[in-house]
Structure formats: structure tokens, C-alpha cells
């Protein structure tokens, strides 16, 4: 492909260039279609832009074409990383591309219709199957259908495909932010003066600000800290909770997330992993836990000692997502929760077991914790996660 520059002067090259220039629009439109089939967010506008770009580069220089199209057609890190494989596949393997054009005659043999009719298959088959299922799920209704909303997360694990559910969980967290903002918007009438409007009004009074105009207070989002139990007894749930945490971390800027089994780990940076597959791996790795029991009390102690001062203030909601089965001493758990309560605004304990009809919080850990909780609520399906938003408003 580096021959592009060397060729530019030979008559053969100029012949090739003319031939290619004639076919290029079709090739580019086709390439954009291939990208769309691979879930790039590109449409007609991008195809038009790509054609415009092709006008101003040396089309026989594949490196330039690649760089230019990459900048134009990618819009996030995942796109960026997959682009080279797609580009090579299309321009170098499927048919005569710009780079293989050493003889002008070769491209002449290709019928434009044949090119546009090329069967396009997404690059990764497993990937697309998952996406299809997800799209299928979307097609069923604009809202998550009943079954998915109500069914317990632990049942979801039995099915192979949890991707739609994961997506919903994450989207739910983001939507929460929007709604919270909106409600605060309506409820808080502020007390600060809107200077510009006031001055404008004061012109009537010769500059005396008689009519004061107020502006509403800046809307503030609550600060959230999530502490997620990933011990073995939580196996069926922790992966989904981690996905939920990812959504929350993404939507609320002042958020921190921790995971614990026998010790506490700070997981915010892991949750921010942009690459989908790597994220899945990392989350699965965290969610797998290590076995060997749950030490809620000690983990909270570590939290209080090392992080609480930094991440918890009097506006903070602390969420603990755990089933309350503690292999440590319940007194320690009670004591640590008491300390945390002094620092935080509210402590909410979300317990997935509460979704079961016969459950009562009698485990010794749960008993020790109860006096210090502002709220104990179920978190076993989408519906119960949706209710968190209302809880935040009420508390």
C-alpha cells in the first residue's frame, strides 16, 4: 500500500486513478453500508461526507484513505478499535481495492451492480447474534416487557443471553438521573437574584432595581456510594448489580462504587471500562468472588477507615447491596454501620432475598444492621431497581 506515492506519476497510475474515481462513490457507499451492518452509527450523511473527503485525498494512497475514513466514520473507542479490521476486509480482500490497482484493467471487470449487491456479513458472528437478540428484545415493545421486569435476576442467569437485561439495567440508572433532575427542577424555587432580568426591569425606574427577579437554585444530584457484596451467596445477583453500578457511575458524577467479599475493593475505574467485552470479563471476574465467606463488618470497617472521609459527606446516600449473610461478628457490622450513619445522609440496604415471599431478615448480620438503616428494600428484579428512584426522592 505504500506504493501509492510512487505510482502517482506513471501513466498506469493515472489510468487506474481515473477508473477508480469513477467507481469510488459506489465503493464508498458500499463500505458505509458494511459499517452500518457492523453496528457503526453511520448513515447517509456520513456517506456523503465520505465522498466529499475522497475528493480531497489521493485515492490511490490507502493509508490516507484509511486515516480519513477512520476519523470520519468512527465515533467512540470501540468503533476505533474495530475499524482497521473492517477496512482491510473490505478494501483489500473482498474485491479489487484502491491499493491493489496496479493495472487499470482489473477494476474494469467489476460490474457496479455486482458490487452493490455484495452479501455483507458482520465481522464477528457471536457478536451479532447477541445484538440481534437485543434488537429482538427491543422490538417486543418500547418498554421492557413484563416478564423481564418482574422476573428474579437469579432466573435470568439460567438463560444464556442476558445482554438485553444488562442493557436495561444500565439504561435504568441513566434514566434515574434524568428524572431526578426534572423533579428537582420543579420542586426547588430558588432565592438567588437573576441579575440580567432585574437590570432590564430596572431601566423603567431609572436604574433602581425595584423589581427583583429571582432565579431558581441550581439543581443538585444526590451523591451516591454503592457497596456491593460479591461473595458466593450473592452469585446469582452480583453481576447484575455491578451492571447497575456501572449505569449509576456513568450517570451521576459524584459516585463511588466498592465491592467486597472478604475484603473491600474500589471498583469505579473498572466500571468505567469503555470496551464492552473487556468490561464483561472484568465484571465477571469481580462478580465471581473468591468464596471463603463474607466479611461485611470488616469490609465496612476498611471502608470507614480508608474511604469514608473522602467519599461520604452529609449529602451522601450509601447503598449496601447484600443478602446480609455475614461470617464475621455481627457486633462489628453494627458498630461500623453506626459510624457510617453519623457521616452519611442515609443508609439504604438493598437485599435481593427480600423478593422471596418467605423471607424475613432474621440472619444475625441483618439483625445487627437493622437499627442503623434508613431503609431496607428488595432488589431482585428490574421493577425493584426502578423503585430506588422514588426512594431517593422520598428520603
Amino acid at each position: 500500500m505504500k506504493r501509492g506515492h510512487a505510482m502517482t506519476t506513471t501513466p498506469e497510475a493515472s489510468e487506474a486513478r481515473t477508473a477508480l474515481a469513477r467507481r469510488l462513490p459506489e465503493r464508498i457507499v458500499e463500505f458505509v453500508r458494511l459499517m452500518r451492518a457492523n453496528h457503526y452509527r453511520v448513515g447517509i450523511q456520513e456517506a456523503i461526507d465520505a465522498l466529499q473527503v475522497a475528493q480531497c485525498i489521493d485515492i490511490l494512497d490507502a493509508r490516507q484513505l484509511r486515516c480519513a475514513l477512520r476519523s470520519l466514520l468512527c465515533s467512540n473507542p470501540a468503533d476505533w478499535k474495530g475499524f482497521d479490521a473492517l477496512f482491510e476486509r473490505y478494501w483489500q480482500h473482498q474485491s479489487a481495492g484502491a491499493i491493489e490497482l496496479t493495472v487499470g484493467g482489473r477494476i474494469e471487470r467489476l460490474e457496479p451492480g455486482a458490487m452493490l449487491g455484495l452479501q455483507i456479513k458482520p465481522v464477528s458472528a457471536t457478536n451479532s447474534r447477541r445484538e440481534d437478540a437485543w434488537r429482538e428484545a427491543l422490538r417486543v415493545g418500547a418498554s421492557p416487557h413484563e416478564a423481564m421486569t418482574r422476573s428474579d435476576f437469579r432466573l435470568a442467569q439460567l438463560h444464556e443471553n442476558t445482554w438485553p437485561l444488562e442493557q436495561w439495567i444500565e439504561a435504568l440508572a441513566r434514566r434515574m438521573r434524568k428524572r431526578l433532575l426534572r423533579r428537582h427542577h420543579v420542586s426547588n424555587l430558588g432565592h438567588r437574584i437573576h441579575v440580567r432580568r432585574t437590570i432590564r426591569r430596572s431601566l423603567t425606574y431609572g436604574g433602581l432595581p425595584l423589581d427583583l427577579i429571582y432565579r431558581e437554585r441550581r439543581r443538585e444530584l444526590p451523591r451516591l456510594v454503592l457497596i456491593i457484596d460479591v461473595s458466593r451467596s450473592m452469585n446469582a445477583y452480583s453481576y447484575f448489580f455491578l451492571r447497575f453500578a456501572r449505569g449509576i457511575v456513568d450517570a451521576f458524577q459524584n459516585t463511588d462504587a466498592f465491592a467486597f467479599h472478604t475484603r473491600l475493593v474500589h471498583i469505579v475505574d473498572t466500571l468505567r471500562e469503555p470496551d464492552r467485552h473487556r468490561l464483561k470479563e472484568k465484571l465477571a471476574w469481580i462478580a465471581a468472588g473468591w468464596g471463603g465467606g463474607t466479611r461485611i463488618g470488616e469490609s465496612l470497617q476498611a471502608f470507614n477507615r480508608e474511604y469514608a472521609r473522602r467519599v461520604v459527606d452529609s449529602h451522601t446516600f450509601v447503598f449496601i447491596l447484600s443478602d446480609g449473610y455475614d461470617t464475621g461478628a455481627p457486633e462489628l457490622l453494627g458498630e461500623q454501620l453506626r459510624r457510617l450513619q453519623q457521616r452519611a445522609k442515609r443508609i439504604v440496604w438493598l437485599n435481593p432475598l427480600m423478593g422471596r415471599t418467605d423471607y424475613a431478615p432474621i440472619a444475625s448480620g441483618m439483625q445487627a444492621a437493622l437499627p442503623y438503616l434508613d431503609l431496607l428494600a428488595p432488589a431482585h428484579n428490574l421493577e425493584s431497581l426502578m423503585k430506588i428512584e422514588q426512594m431517593l426522592l422520598r428520603l
Binding site: 452509527r41 450523511q45 456520513e46 461526507d49 466529499q52 473527503v53 475528493q55 480531497c56 485525498i57 489521493d58 493509508r63 490516507q64 486515516c67 480519513a68 477512520r70 476519523s71 470520519l72 468512527c74 465515533s75 467512540n76 473507542p77 468503533d79 476505533w80 478499535k81 441513566r174 441579575v195 440580567r196 437590570i199 432590564r200 430596572s202 431601566l203 423603567t204 431609572g206 436604574g207 441550581r218 456513568d250 450517570a251 458524577q253 474500589h266 475505574d269 468505567r272 469503555p274
Partner: protein
């Protein structure tokens, strides 16, 4: 019609400005000028996203206007604000004058009392400047939507003044650290460049270029060490900025080779690792292993 023949030229000019750019970035920058579209640069902290804009301004020989985003950034801080104090004074002073209310109002809301913030400044310059919108992911969605409007029409409407159209279209560079998902609309509006950690050769060139007093052998060791360190499981991987800090620190300490005094590494590791967890994750044993691989 071949403005792209300039790629090499631009790379050269950027290097002259102290920035080592790869070809892909240069093509994106030229494309940006050609299509008059903003460029969105993403990548981990410290890989040199902000530097792109600075170097570009130097390469084009134009002004750099910077808008640092933060949560709660609003139109008043980003686009314009009226100078209220002066307006009040003006109203008082003109009280006695025999002009109509409408005239007074026109005077008070004229250009003279307008405080121009970065976005407005950028579109009112006769010479197109480089406009750097830094860490756009920190601003909230409302601002992002507003920005999208400005970046597609290149005009700002000020109720009291009317619509201000761009005198020249600035070269806009947006950076994002990915703390929040940006809207699809903004992403599609922009050209995109993902800035990864530099390769060994590129990073070595950067160090030699930015820390001129350094000896080539030490620079090579430093870069190898940092590149190895990035493959460890860390919360915040050190960026190029950290490499440069560390190189400068070692030069200050008059270290000529990393193995001459391994204690220096432990003492200065804080230049590279910025959290307690990460420092704890690289105890002397690990740094000794990395060091052994770097020499």
C-alpha cells in the same frame, strides 16, 4: 485539489511546535480544516489530548482559546455575560439625559457592556483561532446540547443584541476523558480521533524532544520502564505527561542510569503513580523486576 499532500508538512510543523503526531492524527487535523468540522479526541488521561490543540495553534500560528468544562458550566460562563456593574453605572449617569427609554436601553445593551466568554470570542475573531473545549464530558447534558447548536451553525443568539454570526470559523478541538457517555448527536457532528498510549519509539522521541537535557540511554530506560509499568494491573496507568514528569525529576536528581541507584526509583515513583492503591500495587520487588527488564 490536493490539500492532503500537506500531511508531511503538518507533521513537521507540529513537531516544530513540540508535538510528535502520527499520520492518522495529521490527516484528521487536515480533514478538520477541510470539512470545517470539530475534532473529538478521546483517550486516557495524560496521553496528550490537550497538547494537540496547543500544538495546532502554534503550527497554524494562530490564537488558542480554551474553554475548560466543569459540572454546572452554563451559557454565562461559556458564551457571554453582561457587565452588570457598568450597566448600572451607565443607567445612573444617563438618568439626566434627554434620550428615550428605547435609546437608553440600546446603549446599555450594546457591545460595550458585553463580556465575551470563550465561545463568543472564538467566533468573532477575524483570524480563525483554535478553540479548545477541554473535558466536554464534565459539562452537563444541557450544555452539550447548546454546544452542538453553536458548533453546527457557528452563530450565537443574544436576546438583547440579536444573532451574532461567526466572522471566521474556528478550528475546534474537543477532548473527553470518558467520565460520561457523550450524546450520539455530538459524536456524529465531530470527526473522531482516539489517542492511545504512544509506542516505544514515539514516546522516546517525545521524551528527547521535551526534556532536552536528558541522555539518550536514560531516556530509553525510562520509556521502557514506563511502557512495562502500563501493562501492570493499575487503576490509573501513567500517561505521557507522567513519563515526562518522571524524566524531568530524574534529570534534576542527576541520575544517569536507572540501575545506578534503585532507591531513586522508589522515591520518585510518585511521579508515575498517583493513587495510594497503585503505589501499593508496585512494591520494590515489582519495580525491581520491571527495572531488570528495562536495562
Amino acid at each position: 485539489m490536493r490539500p492532503f499532500a500537506d500531511t508531511e508538512d503538518l507533521i513537521g510543523r507540529l513537531e516544530h511546535a513540540g508535538y510528535i503526531a502520527e499520520r492518522g492524527l495529521a490527516v484528521a487535523l487536515l480533514l478538520m480544516a477541510q470539512l470545517r468540522r470539530p475534532l473529538l479526541v478521546e483517550g486516557d488521561a495524560g496521553v496528550g489530548k490537550t497538547e494537540i490543540a496547543k500544538a495546532l495553534a502554534t503550527a497554524y500560528g494562530c490564537e488558542l482559546i480554551r474553554l475548560q468544562c466543569y459540572e454546572g458550566l452554563d451559557v454565562n460562563a461559556a458564551v457571554y455575560e453582561w457587565n452588570y456593574q457598568r450597566q448600572l453605572l451607565a443607567i445612573k449617569m444617563r438618568e439626566a439625559e434627554e434620550s428615550s427609554l428605547a435609546e437608553k436601553e440600546r446603549h446599555v445593551f450594546s457591545d460595550e457592556y458585553l463580556l465575551q466568554r470563550p465561545l463568543l470570542q472564538a467566533i468573532r475573531r477575524p483570524q480563525p483561532p483554535v478553540l479548545l473545549i477541554d473535558e466536554i464530558d464534565r459539562a452537563d447534558e444541557q450544555f452539550e446540547a447548546y454546544l452542538l447548536e453553536v458548533l453546527s451553525d457557528y452563530q450565537v443568539s443574544i436576546p438583547e443584541l440579536g444573532t451574532v454570526r461567526a466572522v471566521s470559523i474556528p478550528h475546534v478541538v474537543l477532548t473527553s476523558n470518558g467520565t460520561r457517555e457523550l450524546s450520539d448527536a455530538l459524536r456524529r457532528r465531530c470527526l473522531y480521533h482516539y489517542l492511545d498510549y504512544p509506542s516505544f519509539e514515539k514516546e522516546l522521541r517525545i521524551v528527547l524532544r521535551r526534556v532536552p537535557q536528558i541522555e539518550e540511554q536514560l531516556a530509553g530506560q525510562i520509556v521502557t520502564f514506563v511502557q512495562k509499568l502500563r501493562t501492570e494491573e493499575l487503576q490509573k496507568r501513567p500517561g505521557t505527561a507522567e513519563t515526562l514528569d518522571w524524566a524531568a525529576a530524574l534529570v534534576q536528581l542527576r541520575v544517569s542510569s536507572l540501575d545506578s541507584n534503585p532507591d531513586f526509583i522508589a522515591d520518585t515513583l510518585a511521579c508515575l503513580l498517583k493513587t495510594r492503591e497503585d503505589l501499593a500495587a508496585v512494591p520494590p520487588s515489582v519495580s525491581a523486576r520491571l527495572l531488570a527488564q528495562s536495562i
